[in-house]
Each structure stands twice: as structure tokens, then as C-alpha cells.
Amino acid sequence: MLRVTVTDREQISAAGTFFTLVLALAAGLLVIGGIFLCCGVDPLFAFKKIVSGSFGSLYGFKETITKAIPLILIGGGLAVAFKAKFWNIGAESQLLMGAIFGTWVGLNWGPALPGPVIVPLMFLAGFIGGALWGLISAVLKLRFAINEVISTLMLNYICAEFLTLLIVGPWKSPKKFGFPYTDDLPASAMLSLLPGSRIHTFTLILALVAMVVLTVMLFKSRFGYEVRVIGENPDAAKYAGIDFTRTTLLIMIISGGMAGMAGVGEVAGLHHYLSYPDTISSGYGFTAIIVAWLAKLNPCYVVFSAIFFAGILVGGDAIQISLGLPAATVDIFNGTLLIFLIMGDFFTKNRVRLLSKEKV
């Protein structure tokens, strides 16, 4: 009789980590391939379409980078929160709140101020908006011990409805032929694009710089040390005199603020006005969870995993069009990969062996 034993791995090697990562991705793709088969689509053809649609052509690649921008910003923020084991599932609405704050600043102050002044102000406002929205969950957790998974998730709905309320109500533009949109941002508040693409360079550079800053913060600074101790062992953190309240608040300010800036980037760079929540963000807040996870919660790696998942988003659009698959395909794709990545994590950390029962 066989029996499975699970023991802690003593040493986690980089090669082993990479190997399980590749294996997890491969296993995930295999299952997704099975799903494609069930839909009557040749999986190899579908994968080819995804790759060629996202990385295989210049247009596709530029789109991939465009979509990677918000994923990098949010994923980096989530990596910090997850490192402290604060499960922020509300980046989607922190993004929206950032978009709301940033748009307000752009619409109201933009006409009077030049670009180099108004753009940083908008990002600052977006950071504050996302941070404030994120802080609600942190306060609920600290003060009333409310699980942050529930509160961040539920706040997503509240914020989406709030945004809808704004665009059909007080912020609705009279110039948009009755559509529920706000006015366009003034020209000074719009981000310039890389010619021939939709890549808003300011946000891209901001995102890359932010990842370097976050990485240094997480692994070199006192604050980052405290974040990691809290994540690894909250009891030891208390014993070590680390201020749990202060650190948790700061974590959610960073995590929410990063998502908020992503929201500003989307509005100022691409849409130029506020509209329905699912137009402003096509689920970036959720996809970024997987991005952070695949990056092993290291902001530097987030850049690469964000590009990878942006490619899947873009490639997903491609197969929607060319193969007539439903829009939910991408969600299934991402969800399946996440499950396999988490399972892969288990194998990275534990040694699993099959033993015959007699030998135990």
C-alpha cells in the first residue's frame, strides 16, 4: 500500500523554484488545452494565436505593453501587501477610486495648469484616492478584526456602483450626447503616447521606477524588514516590538496607492474621461493578484510576470475574435494558471514522497 508523506523542504533552491514554476505553468496550459478541446478548438492553434496576437506582432506587442502598465503598478503594490500576508483583493476598486480622484483633479485644475504640473498632481491625487479606499479595509481589520479578504472584495462593488453613480449623475457631461461619461480631460492633463501605439510613457516609466523603489524598500529598508517579519510570523513581530497597526496602515497606503495611480494612468493615458467601471479597468485588479503571485512577491519580477499576463489578455482578445470564443475564456485561462501556480508553491516548499506503508 502506498502512502504519501509531506515534509518541509530544508533548502529551497533557485533552480528547484524555477523548475516547479515551469512545471506548474505547463500543467496549467495542459488543462487549459483540455478546456479548449472541449470547446471544439484545437488547443495548439489557440495557443499559437494567443502568442502571435500578443508577442508575435509589433501591434500585439505594443498592446501587451499597454496592458502591462497597470498590471505592473498594481502587482507591485499587491506584492508588498501579500508579503505581510494582508490579502488585498480590492485593487480593482482602489484603481477606480484613484481614477475618480485623478479625474477630478484633472477636470477641475487641469485647464489652469500646464502639463508638467497637473500630471504629477493627478497621480498624487490618484495615489491618495486608492490609499484612502484601501485604508478602510486596514482600519476595519485593525479596529474590528474584520477579515480583509471580505472587506476589500466587497468594497469593489461599492466603489464600482459609486463610480456609476457619478457618471450618470453629478459628473455626467452635457457634451456627450447623453452617454454616461464625464467631460474630456483638458489637453494638459492627457498623457502623451509613444507614437504609433497606446503606450503612455509617463506611466510606464513611473511603474518601472516604482518597482525598483519597492524592491529596495522591501528587501533593504527597516520598513520592509518589518513587513516581512509580520508576514512570516506576527507573534514574533509583536515580540520584536514592531508596530503592527502602523505597518499595516502603511502597507495598505502603498498597496492602494499603487492601484490608484494605475487608475489615473488608464484615464489620463487612454480613456480621457470616466465611464463605466468595466471600461476603465478590465479586471486589472484581479489579474494583478496572479501577477504578484507569479513574481513570487518580488516587485522586480512583477515587471516580467505583468508582461506575461498582459500578453494573455491581448492574446485572449485575439482568439475571441479569430476563434469566436467567449470573453470569459481569458478569465478561465488566468484562473486555471493561478490554481496551478499556488499548487506549484506547495511543491516548492514541501517534499512530497510516495512510500510503501511498510517502510514508514
Binding site: 518541509d8 530544508e10 533548502q11 529551497i12 533593504k220 529598508s221 527597516r222 520598513f223 524588514y225 518589518e226 516581512r228 517579519v229 512570516e232 510570523n233 507573534d235 514574533a236 513581530a237 509583536k238 515580540y239 520584536a240 516590538g241 514592531i242 508596530d243
Partner: protein
């Protein structure tokens, strides 16, 4: 199958990673008898009972019921043989009713409408043993004593003839304890077999017919309890008459470091577990707190180190009031702490060794420059630390969880001592360590004393306390039974005091006068 009349364990041995938890243990219990199983923590009581309960398989030896050899390879098999266990921490589902909890794991419950049958069962047992349980109450609404009765009924409903009770009174109030003992007496007259695990001498003496004493995995004695001297029992449990082996010179006791005055502290459940304790610790002195765990030591230490709020009273270090200050403030005032559960509190297991070597000190100037940590200096410090304190590790770049318990403890102790604290609070510093590491750590504590530190040592290991301490306070149920000098002739009574049987005359005032002039 004939109901169980006798149960014997013959030559039972069990090792874990080369450590003999049980070494050729024999015991026997018969119908209508309560057998006491006495021993310190780590003596092997729980391992032995888990073998009986089918959680562990013995490496050698056998179990006999009514003289016939049986194999118990799972809790279910144990149940089928008529063995029931009431764990120290109850295994009940808090949000379910008494009936639902008893229905769990009840093999003979009818498929449909089991409630009625189980209710009848509960009521009949309640009547038989004079319990008082409402079958429809939810577990969380019940007191500890009531929950324990539910556990007992659960075992009985499943047909247990032998009831194993693991430290049953540790969670009970005195009144509940009295009721509980009455129930046990009744069960004895009903012909039940009972094994009572305890380290309270009074309980063993008053309740049990016979006692088996374990020490370090071996049986050190069987005895009838009637006519037995409690002093004799204490000696059997602790192992020997008290002797001193460490060389420890007398040092002047002049400068007071820690002053604790009338401190009361609440436990996790919200009622006081430290009930008005006062004492001082001086430079060049190790004050030991002896006692069976769960008598308020943990809470007292947590109060001193800032991990738990003090209800009333005051604590000061070097004349500075630190009552209810944050752990960091208290640490900055010169208090270091070797925590009781080293893995749970002392380290972040997944972080690197050098990162754990500065836990609690990372904010200090020597390890950080403004917002950043000075990893160069941290690594140099860690290298020195593992050299000075003989921490065996391949390098400082390993995850701390890969170190053995002894090495983790050396790291923690080293970290805390390297800080040159005025007061070092050490809780069970050598618990579970091998002889070498134990000896080493004890010497380090003595060294700290010689260097002018004050040390507060909490330990269940009486040898350790007697070897190291200048003065010994014995704690029982949140109060000090007395504070003795290490050369006090009454020190042989410490075992009795730990069991709460003897409160010494309050003469520590006189002691203080003798030494502080």
C-alpha cells in the same frame, strides 16, 4: 467481547528521532481502580497515552486487555477496545450542540433521527453519574467543567471502559474540580477503569488507588497511594534529592534592577492568572521562578516584557516605570527576553539567519542608517554571534527554520545577551534541548550574572532552577508560595510548594532585609 477488566502495557518503548520518549514502560490498571500517572513535562506521559489511544505505534512492547494481546493502530481501534480519552484541550465543535458533538464519531447512531437516541443516552449517563448537562446547549455556552463532562459522556456513549484523563483539572475551578472528583469516585464504584495523568501531587494522593511515576521516559516507581508520603512522591517525580553541581560564587546583591509590585494580570480567558505578585531582581543575581506550567508564569513574563497588559500594580526597571509600555520601549530600557515558545515568538522561521539575528534590535543605530538596514554590519554581527554562541549552521544565509531547536535557542539567547541587557528574562531556555546545549546555555546565563546582569529565569526544570538561581520563587495558581534562598534549608520542600501543598511563612521580607541591609 468480554468487558475490559484489566489493561496492561508491557515493555513499551517509543523513540522519536533517536530520543527515547518511552523506555520499557510497564503499567497495569484494573476495573474499579484509578491509576495515577505522574511525571514532569516531557517525562513521556502523553506519548504513552497516545500509544494507548492509537495515535502512535510503539517500537516494541505490547498491550494486553484481559490478558490477551491486542493491536491498537488507530483511535477507532482504541475506541472499539473500549478505550476513551479526554484530552487536556477539548476536542469539541464550539458552534454545535452537545448532542451534535456526541453524535460525531458515534458509530452506533441510527441513520435517521439520531437525536432522540443520543439524548436518551446523555440523560441516562447524566443520571448514573449525577451530571448536569443540557443536551441542547451549544458548546460555547458551557463552562470548562461542563465541556469536560461532555467529553466524558462522549467517551462513555462510545462504550469506553477505560477512561484516560489528561491533566483534567488544569482548566477547572476548585468547585468544578470537586464535582469532577465526585464523578470519578462514582465511576470507580461502577467498575470503570481510569488513568489520571497529572503532576499535581494532591490529586494523585487523594483520588488514585495506585500511582506510576515516570521520569525521562522511564518508570521510576509504582506505589499504592495510601500511606504514601507526598515528599516521597515529589522526590520520585523530580528525580533525586537536591544537590548542587554548578560552581557559582556568591556575589554582592546591591543594585536593584527589576521591581515588581502587586502585579495582577489577566489570562487569555479574561480572568486573573497572576494575582498580586511582588518581587525584585538585583544585579549579579539570577532569580528563578519555579512552578508547574500554567500557574501564571507565562502571563507574568509577558507582562514584564510588554506583551500583555498589567491590570494593576507596577513594574519598573532601573527605577524607570515600564508598566504597560510597548515591547520596544521596554526593550530600549534594557530588558531582553528569551521567549517560552521559541519558534512561535523568537524567530521568523522563513527569514534568513542574519535577519533573525537582529530581530528586535533592527531599529537600533548600529544596524540601521536612517530608513535602511545596514546589512553589512548586520552580517558581521551575525557571524560574531554564531561564533560566540556556538550556533551550528552551514552559513548565515540559510532560512532559520532549518536550524535545530538547540541552535535556534542558542541564536535567540545570543541575540538577547549580545544586547548586554540589564535584565534578561528567560523562559524555559533549555526546554527540549540535549544535554550539551543545555549545559552551554546555563553557563551563558551564569556568565551574564557575573557580568552584572540581572536574570529572571522561569523554568519547570527544578534541577535548572536549583543549579543556577540565587533565589527561588515558587509560583502556584498565580501567587508566590514563597521566595527561598538557594541555601535555604526549606529548599527540599520546593516540590511540595510547586504542587501547592505548602505555603511557607511569609518571611521573604526577612530575607530581603538580610541581604539588602
Amino acid at each position: 467481547m468480554k468487558p475490559m477488566e484489566t489493561l496492561e502495557m508491557i515493555d513499551i518503548s517509543k523513540s522519536f528521532h533517536g530520543v527515547r520518549a518511552n523506555d520499557n514502560i510497564n503499567l497495569k490498571v484494573s476495573s474499579g481502580e484509578i491509576l495515577g500517572l505522574l511525571g514532569e513535562n516531557g517525562a513521556g506521559k502523553t506519548t504513552l497515552m497516545n500509544i494507548l489511544y492509537g495515535l502512535y505505534q510503539p517500537d516494541s512492547g505490547e498491550i494486553r486487555i484481559n490478558g490477551r494481546r491486542v493491536t491498537i493502530d488507530s483511535p477507532r481501534a482504541s475506541l472499539e477496545h473500549g478505550i476513551g480519552m479526554v484530552h487536556q484541550h477539548f476536542m469539541l465543535v464550539q458552534n454545535h450542540t452537545v448532542i451534535e458533538n456526541i453524535a460525531l464519531g458515534y458509530t452506533r447512531a441510527p441513520g435517521l433521527f439520531p437525536q432522540k437516541k443520543i439524548r436518551d443516552h446523555i440523560l441516562s449517563f447524566s443520571k448514573k453519574f449525577n451530571f448536569d448537562i443540557d443536551p441542547d446547549k451549544k458548546i460555547w455556552q458551557l463552562s470548562a467543567g461542563e465541556q469536560q463532562r461532555v467529553e466524558i459522556v462522549k467517551a462513555l456513549v462510545n462504550g469506553a471502559r477505560l477512561l484516560i484523563l489528561d491533566e483534567p483539572t488544569s482548566v477547572l475551578t476548585p468547585q468544578e474540580t470537586r464535582d469532577f472528583f465526585e464523578i470519578l469516585e462514582r465511576m470507580r464504584t461502577e467498575g470503570q477503569l481510569i488513568i489520571l495523568i497529572s503532576h499535581k501531587l494532591d490529586e494523585i494522593k487523594n483520588l488514585c488507588d495506585r500511582v506510576t511515576v515516570l521520569r525521562k521516559g522511564q518508570v521510576v516507581g509504582h506505589a499504592e497511594t495510601c500511606g504514601l508520603d507526598k515528599r516521597e512522591l515529589a522526590r520520585m517525580m523530580i528525580g533525586r534529592d537536591v544537590v548542587f553541581s554548578f560552581s557559582r560564587e556568591k556575589m554582592p546583591r546591591e543594585e536593584k534592577v527589576l521591581e515588581v509590585r502587586d502585579v495582577t494580570v489577566d489570562g487569555d480567558k479574561g480572568y486573573p492568572v497572576v494575582k498580586g505578585i511582588s518581587f525584585d531582581v538585583y544585579r549579579n543575581e539570577i532569580l528563578g521562578i519555579a512552578g508547574v506550567s500554567g500557574n501564571g508564569q507565562r502571563e507574568l513574563v509577558e507582562a514584564i516584557t510588554g506583551l500583555r497588559l498589567v491590570n494593576s500594580g507596577s513594574i519598573s526597571v532601573n527605577g524607570v516605570d515600564i508598566t504597560n509600555q510597548s515591547p520596544r520601549k521596554i526593550h530600549n530600557n534594557g530588558v531582553s527576553h528569551v521567549p517560552e515558545e521559541r519558534i512561535r515568538f523568537g524567530i521568523a522561521p522563513n527569514l534568513f539567519l542574519y535577519e533573525n539575528a537582529i530581530l528586535k534590535q533592527h531599529h537600533q543605530k548600529k544596524f540601521s542608517r536612517r530608513a535602511f538596514l545596514a546589512y553589512g554590519r548586520i552580517k558581521a554581527h551575525t557571524k560574531q554571534l554564531i561564533k560566540d554562541f556556538q550556533v551550528a549552521t552551514p552559513s548565515i544565509n540559510v532560512q532559520t527554520k532549518n536550524l535545530s531547536g538547540g541552535n535556534i535557542q542558542k541564536l535567540i539567547l545570543g541575540r538577547e545577551i549580545a544586547d548586554q541587557p540589564d535584565l534578561l528574562v528567560a523562559s524555559h531556555p533549555t526546554y527540549g534541548l540535549d544535554v550539551g546545549a543545555t549545559e552551554y546555555l546555563r553557563n551563558q546565563l551564569l556568565k551574564r550574572r557575573e557580568e552584572g546582569g540581572a536574570v529572571l529565569l522561569v523554568s519547570e526544570d527544578l534541577d535548572e532552577i536549583l543549579e543556577l538561581c540565587d533565589r527561588i520563587a515558587v509560583i502556584f495558581q498565580g501567587r508566590f508560595m514563597g521566595i527561598l534562598d538557594s541555601d535555604d534549608p526549606l529548599r527540599t520542600d520546593i516540590g511540595l510548594m510547586m504542587a501547592g501543598t505548602k505555603e511557607l511563612e511569609p518571611k521573604d521580607g526577612a530575607h530581603a532585609a538580610r541581604h539588602c541591609h
